[in-house]
Symmetry: C2
Subunit: 129 residues, 2 copies
Amino acid sequence: MQITIDTEDHIPLFAQLVSQVKKAVLDGKLSSGDALPSIRQLANDLDLNNKTVAKAYSLLERDEVVQTKGYRGTYIHPEAKVNSAIDLNEWALAKLSDVTRALREAGVTDSEIRIAFTKTMTNHTHREN
Amino acid sequence: MQITIDTEDHIPLFAQLVSQVKKAVLDGKLSSGDALPSIRQLANDLDLNNKTVAKAYSLLERDEVVQTKGYRGTYIHPEAKVNSAIDLNEWALAKLSDVTRALREAGVTDSEIRIAFTKTMTNHTHREN
DNA sequence: ATATGTACCCCTAGATCAAAGGGTACATAT
DNA sequence: ATATGTACCCTTTGATCTAGGGGTACATAT
Protein backbone atom coordinates (compact mmCIF):
# COMPACT_ATOMS: atom_id res chain seq x y z
CA MET A 1 0.00 0.00 0.00
CA GLN A 2 0.94 3.65 -0.43
CA ILE A 3 1.11 6.14 2.39
CA THR A 4 2.15 9.71 1.93
CA ILE A 5 2.71 12.08 4.81
CA ASP A 6 2.69 15.83 4.41
CA THR A 7 4.78 17.36 7.15
CA GLU A 8 3.77 20.83 6.04
CA ASP A 9 0.11 20.11 6.47
CA HIS A 10 -1.73 21.51 9.48
CA ILE A 11 -3.27 18.09 10.11
CA PRO A 12 -1.41 16.12 12.81
CA LEU A 13 0.85 13.40 11.46
CA PHE A 14 -0.81 10.59 13.41
CA ALA A 15 -4.18 11.77 12.11
CA GLN A 16 -2.97 11.67 8.52
CA LEU A 17 -1.84 8.12 9.08
CA VAL A 18 -5.13 7.06 10.60
CA SER A 19 -7.28 8.50 7.86
CA GLN A 20 -5.07 7.14 5.11
CA VAL A 21 -5.34 3.62 6.45
CA LYS A 22 -9.08 3.96 6.79
CA LYS A 23 -9.32 5.32 3.27
CA ALA A 24 -7.24 2.43 1.93
CA VAL A 25 -9.61 0.01 3.61
CA LEU A 26 -12.68 1.71 2.18
CA ASP A 27 -11.10 1.75 -1.26
CA GLY A 28 -10.39 -1.96 -1.01
CA LYS A 29 -6.65 -1.46 -1.17
CA LEU A 30 -6.38 -3.09 2.22
CA SER A 31 -8.61 -5.93 3.30
CA SER A 32 -9.15 -8.27 6.21
CA GLY A 33 -6.04 -10.12 7.22
CA ASP A 34 -3.57 -7.97 5.35
CA ALA A 35 -0.44 -7.23 7.30
CA LEU A 36 0.61 -3.69 8.06
CA PRO A 37 4.23 -2.67 8.37
CA SER A 38 5.55 -2.82 11.89
CA ILE A 39 5.55 0.39 13.89
CA ARG A 40 9.31 0.76 13.72
CA GLN A 41 9.38 -0.17 10.04
CA LEU A 42 6.77 2.37 9.02
CA ALA A 43 8.27 5.04 11.22
CA ASN A 44 11.56 4.50 9.49
CA ASP A 45 10.07 4.50 5.98
CA LEU A 46 8.11 7.69 6.51
CA ASP A 47 10.82 9.26 8.61
CA LEU A 48 8.50 9.63 11.57
CA ASN A 49 9.02 8.96 15.23
CA ASN A 50 8.02 5.53 16.53
CA LYS A 51 5.57 7.09 18.94
CA THR A 52 3.73 8.95 16.23
CA VAL A 53 3.12 5.73 14.31
CA ALA A 54 2.31 3.84 17.52
CA LYS A 55 -0.31 6.43 18.37
CA ALA A 56 -1.94 6.07 14.97
CA TYR A 57 -1.93 2.29 15.26
CA SER A 58 -3.47 2.29 18.71
CA LEU A 59 -6.24 4.59 17.51
CA LEU A 60 -6.86 2.31 14.55
CA GLU A 61 -7.04 -0.62 16.92
CA ARG A 62 -9.51 1.13 19.15
CA ASP A 63 -11.69 1.79 16.11
CA GLU A 64 -11.34 -1.91 15.21
CA VAL A 65 -9.90 -1.14 11.82
CA VAL A 66 -6.76 -2.95 12.77
CA GLN A 67 -5.87 -5.88 14.96
CA THR A 68 -2.62 -6.22 16.81
CA LYS A 69 -1.28 -9.70 17.36
CA GLY A 70 1.53 -8.92 19.76
CA TYR A 71 4.92 -9.86 18.49
CA ARG A 72 3.41 -11.10 15.25
CA GLY A 73 2.59 -7.67 13.96
CA THR A 74 -0.50 -5.72 13.04
CA TYR A 75 -3.24 -6.81 10.67
CA ILE A 76 -6.40 -5.46 9.12
CA HIS A 77 -9.41 -6.26 11.25
CA PRO A 78 -12.16 -8.57 9.88
CA GLU A 79 -14.73 -5.80 10.33
CA ALA A 80 -12.37 -3.10 9.08
CA LYS A 81 -14.52 -1.99 6.17
CA VAL A 82 -17.56 -1.34 8.32
CA ASN A 83 -15.60 0.27 11.10
CA SER A 84 -13.66 2.56 8.82
CA ALA A 85 -16.87 4.34 7.99
CA ILE A 86 -17.66 5.08 11.64
CA ASP A 87 -16.28 8.31 12.96
CA LEU A 88 -16.15 8.23 16.72
CA ASN A 89 -14.94 11.80 16.83
CA GLU A 90 -17.90 13.18 14.95
CA TRP A 91 -20.21 11.43 17.32
CA ALA A 92 -18.35 12.91 20.26
CA LEU A 93 -18.60 16.33 18.65
CA ALA A 94 -22.35 15.98 18.24
CA LYS A 95 -22.84 14.86 21.82
CA LEU A 96 -20.80 17.70 23.24
CA SER A 97 -22.45 20.17 20.93
CA ASP A 98 -25.87 19.21 22.26
CA VAL A 99 -24.86 19.75 25.85
CA THR A 100 -23.04 23.02 25.38
CA ARG A 101 -25.97 24.39 23.42
CA ALA A 102 -28.31 23.48 26.25
CA LEU A 103 -26.02 25.10 28.80
CA ARG A 104 -25.69 28.27 26.79
CA GLU A 105 -29.42 28.51 26.40
CA ALA A 106 -29.74 28.25 30.15
CA GLY A 107 -27.50 31.29 30.47
CA VAL A 108 -24.30 29.57 31.45
CA THR A 109 -21.30 31.56 30.32
CA ASP A 110 -18.82 30.11 27.86
CA SER A 111 -16.18 30.66 30.47
CA GLU A 112 -18.17 28.75 33.04
CA ILE A 113 -18.80 25.92 30.61
CA ARG A 114 -15.07 25.62 30.03
CA ILE A 115 -14.34 25.60 33.73
CA ALA A 116 -16.96 22.97 34.42
CA PHE A 117 -15.59 20.91 31.56
CA THR A 118 -12.00 20.94 32.74
CA LYS A 119 -13.28 20.06 36.19
CA THR A 120 -14.95 16.94 34.89
CA MET A 121 -11.85 16.00 32.95
CA THR A 122 -9.45 16.38 35.84
CA ASN A 123 -11.57 14.95 38.62
CA HIS A 124 -12.82 11.93 36.75
CA THR A 125 -9.84 9.72 37.66
CA HIS A 126 -7.91 10.09 34.49
CA ARG A 127 -5.63 7.78 32.61
CA GLU A 128 -5.66 7.42 28.78
CA ASN A 129 -3.44 9.01 26.16
CA MET B 1 -24.09 43.79 55.28
CA GLN B 2 -20.63 42.36 55.82
CA ILE B 3 -18.38 41.14 53.05
CA THR B 4 -14.92 39.81 53.60
CA ILE B 5 -12.55 38.97 50.80
CA ASP B 6 -9.59 36.68 51.22
CA THR B 7 -6.98 37.58 48.65
CA GLU B 8 -4.86 34.62 49.70
CA ASP B 9 -7.62 32.16 49.01
CA HIS B 10 -7.46 30.05 45.84
CA ILE B 11 -11.09 30.90 45.12
CA PRO B 12 -11.43 33.75 42.59
CA LEU B 13 -12.32 37.10 44.07
CA PHE B 14 -15.45 37.56 41.99
CA ALA B 15 -16.59 34.07 43.04
CA GLN B 16 -16.11 34.91 46.69
CA LEU B 17 -18.26 37.97 46.19
CA VAL B 18 -20.99 36.04 44.43
CA SER B 19 -21.24 33.32 47.03
CA GLN B 20 -21.15 35.77 49.91
CA VAL B 21 -24.06 37.72 48.52
CA LYS B 22 -26.02 34.52 47.93
CA LYS B 23 -25.25 33.34 51.43
CA ALA B 24 -26.37 36.66 52.88
CA VAL B 25 -29.65 36.29 51.02
CA LEU B 26 -30.17 32.74 52.23
CA ASP B 27 -29.39 33.80 55.79
CA GLY B 28 -31.93 36.59 55.56
CA LYS B 29 -29.32 39.28 55.97
CA LEU B 30 -30.31 40.66 52.59
CA SER B 31 -33.85 40.59 51.33
CA SER B 32 -35.91 41.68 48.36
CA GLY B 33 -35.50 45.33 47.54
CA ASP B 34 -32.41 45.96 49.64
CA ALA B 35 -29.85 48.13 47.91
CA LEU B 36 -26.34 46.92 47.26
CA PRO B 37 -23.36 49.21 47.24
CA SER B 38 -22.50 50.56 43.82
CA ILE B 39 -19.83 48.76 41.86
CA ARG B 40 -17.31 51.53 42.29
CA GLN B 41 -18.17 51.94 45.96
CA LEU B 42 -17.75 48.28 46.81
CA ALA B 43 -14.60 48.00 44.74
CA ASN B 44 -13.17 50.86 46.70
CA ASP B 45 -14.20 49.48 50.09
CA LEU B 46 -12.80 46.03 49.44
CA ASP B 47 -9.82 47.37 47.55
CA LEU B 48 -10.76 45.47 44.42
CA ASN B 49 -10.83 46.48 40.80
CA ASN B 50 -14.11 47.80 39.44
CA LYS B 51 -14.22 45.05 36.89
CA THR B 52 -13.94 42.31 39.46
CA VAL B 53 -16.98 43.63 41.29
CA ALA B 54 -18.81 44.28 38.04
CA LYS B 55 -18.25 40.70 37.03
CA ALA B 56 -19.67 39.41 40.28
CA TYR B 57 -22.70 41.68 39.97
CA SER B 58 -23.43 40.63 36.42
CA LEU B 59 -23.30 36.98 37.43
CA LEU B 60 -25.64 37.68 40.31
CA GLU B 61 -27.97 39.39 37.93
CA ARG B 62 -27.92 36.47 35.53
CA ASP B 63 -28.82 34.19 38.42
CA GLU B 64 -31.63 36.61 39.30
CA VAL B 65 -30.34 37.16 42.77
CA VAL B 66 -29.90 40.82 42.04
CA GLN B 67 -31.61 43.36 39.87
CA THR B 68 -29.86 46.28 38.28
CA LYS B 69 -31.83 49.45 37.78
CA GLY B 70 -29.44 51.34 35.59
CA TYR B 71 -28.26 54.57 37.06
CA ARG B 72 -30.33 53.95 40.20
CA GLY B 73 -28.11 51.18 41.45
CA THR B 74 -28.41 47.48 42.19
CA TYR B 75 -31.02 45.81 44.34
CA ILE B 76 -31.89 42.40 45.68
CA HIS B 77 -34.21 40.55 43.34
CA PRO B 78 -37.76 39.65 44.49
CA GLU B 79 -37.01 35.97 43.90
CA ALA B 80 -33.52 36.20 45.33
CA LYS B 81 -34.04 33.67 48.10
CA VAL B 82 -35.20 30.92 45.76
CA ASN B 83 -32.61 31.69 43.13
CA SER B 84 -29.74 31.80 45.57
CA ALA B 85 -30.23 28.13 46.22
CA ILE B 86 -29.90 27.23 42.55
CA ASP B 87 -26.38 26.59 41.39
CA LEU B 88 -26.18 26.84 37.64
CA ASN B 89 -22.57 25.78 37.64
CA GLU B 90 -23.24 22.53 39.46
CA TRP B 91 -25.92 21.72 36.97
CA ALA B 92 -23.52 22.40 34.13
CA LEU B 93 -20.96 20.21 35.81
CA ALA B 94 -23.43 17.35 36.08
CA LYS B 95 -24.50 17.67 32.45
CA LEU B 96 -20.95 17.69 31.16
CA SER B 97 -19.98 14.86 33.46
CA ASP B 98 -22.72 12.68 31.99
CA VAL B 99 -21.56 13.24 28.45
CA THR B 100 -17.87 12.79 29.05
CA ARG B 101 -18.55 9.58 30.94
CA ALA B 102 -20.56 8.25 28.00
CA LEU B 103 -17.82 9.22 25.57
CA ARG B 104 -15.13 7.61 27.65
CA GLU B 105 -17.13 4.43 27.92
CA ALA B 106 -17.39 4.40 24.14
CA GLY B 107 -13.61 4.43 23.98
CA VAL B 108 -13.10 8.05 23.06
CA THR B 109 -9.78 9.31 24.33
CA ASP B 110 -9.60 12.12 26.86
CA SER B 111 -7.52 13.99 24.35
CA GLU B 112 -10.14 13.53 21.66
CA ILE B 113 -12.87 14.64 24.02
CA ARG B 114 -10.97 17.83 24.72
CA ILE B 115 -10.41 18.49 21.05
CA ALA B 116 -14.06 17.92 20.22
CA PHE B 117 -15.02 20.18 23.09
CA THR B 118 -12.88 23.10 22.03
CA LYS B 119 -14.22 22.64 18.53
CA THR B 120 -17.78 23.08 19.73
CA MET B 121 -16.79 26.10 21.75
CA THR B 122 -14.99 27.88 18.95
CA ASN B 123 -17.31 27.05 16.07
CA HIS B 124 -20.52 27.86 17.86
CA THR B 125 -20.39 31.60 17.10
CA HIS B 126 -19.12 32.84 20.39
CA ARG B 127 -19.64 36.01 22.33
CA GLU B 128 -20.16 36.14 26.12
CA ASN B 129 -17.70 36.91 28.91
C1' DA C 1 20.06 -12.22 18.74
C1' DT C 2 16.08 -10.11 16.78
C1' DA C 3 11.63 -8.10 16.01
C1' DT C 4 6.97 -7.40 17.86
C1' DG C 5 3.67 -4.19 20.42
C1' DT C 6 3.60 -1.68 24.52
C1' DA C 7 4.55 1.08 28.65
C1' DC C 8 6.88 4.21 31.05
C1' DC C 9 10.10 8.46 31.92
C1' DC C 10 11.49 13.19 30.31
C1' DC C 11 11.43 17.39 27.15
C1' DT C 12 10.09 21.32 23.74
C1' DA C 13 7.06 24.40 21.02
C1' DG C 14 2.78 26.43 20.30
C1' DA C 15 -1.74 27.60 21.56
C1' DT C 16 -5.46 28.85 24.62
C1' DC C 17 -7.53 30.17 28.65
C1' DA C 18 -8.84 32.20 33.49
C1' DA C 19 -8.32 35.85 36.67
C1' DA C 20 -7.35 40.28 37.59
C1' DG C 21 -6.25 44.78 36.71
C1' DG C 22 -5.83 49.46 33.93
C1' DG C 23 -7.98 52.67 31.15
C1' DT C 24 -11.49 55.15 28.57
C1' DA C 25 -15.96 56.14 27.20
C1' DC C 26 -21.10 56.28 27.04
C1' DA C 27 -26.25 57.27 28.03
C1' DT C 28 -29.05 57.98 31.72
C1' DA C 29 -30.91 60.55 35.29
C1' DT C 30 -30.31 63.29 39.62
C1' DA D 1 -21.20 68.17 37.90
C1' DT D 2 -21.99 63.61 39.64
C1' DA D 3 -23.02 58.78 40.11
C1' DT D 4 -25.09 54.68 37.93
C1' DG D 5 -24.33 50.32 35.17
C1' DT D 6 -22.11 49.00 31.11
C1' DA D 7 -19.11 48.27 27.09
C1' DC D 8 -15.10 48.38 24.90
C1' DC D 9 -9.77 48.52 24.44
C1' DC D 10 -5.13 46.13 26.04
C1' DT D 11 -1.91 43.67 29.51
C1' DT D 12 0.15 40.28 32.74
C1' DT D 13 0.47 35.99 35.29
C1' DG D 14 0.02 31.31 35.71
C1' DA D 15 -1.94 27.08 34.31
C1' DT D 16 -2.94 23.45 30.97
C1' DC D 17 -3.29 21.34 26.76
C1' DT D 18 -1.71 19.19 21.88
C1' DA D 19 1.64 17.40 18.85
C1' DG D 20 5.78 15.64 18.46
C1' DG D 21 10.09 13.76 19.72
C1' DG D 22 13.95 11.13 22.59
C1' DG D 23 15.05 7.43 25.38
C1' DT D 24 14.69 3.13 27.89
C1' DA D 25 12.72 -1.02 29.12
C1' DC D 26 9.77 -5.22 29.02
C1' DA D 27 7.65 -9.98 27.80
C1' DT D 28 6.79 -12.56 23.97
C1' DA D 29 8.06 -15.54 20.49
C1' DT D 30 10.89 -16.62 16.33
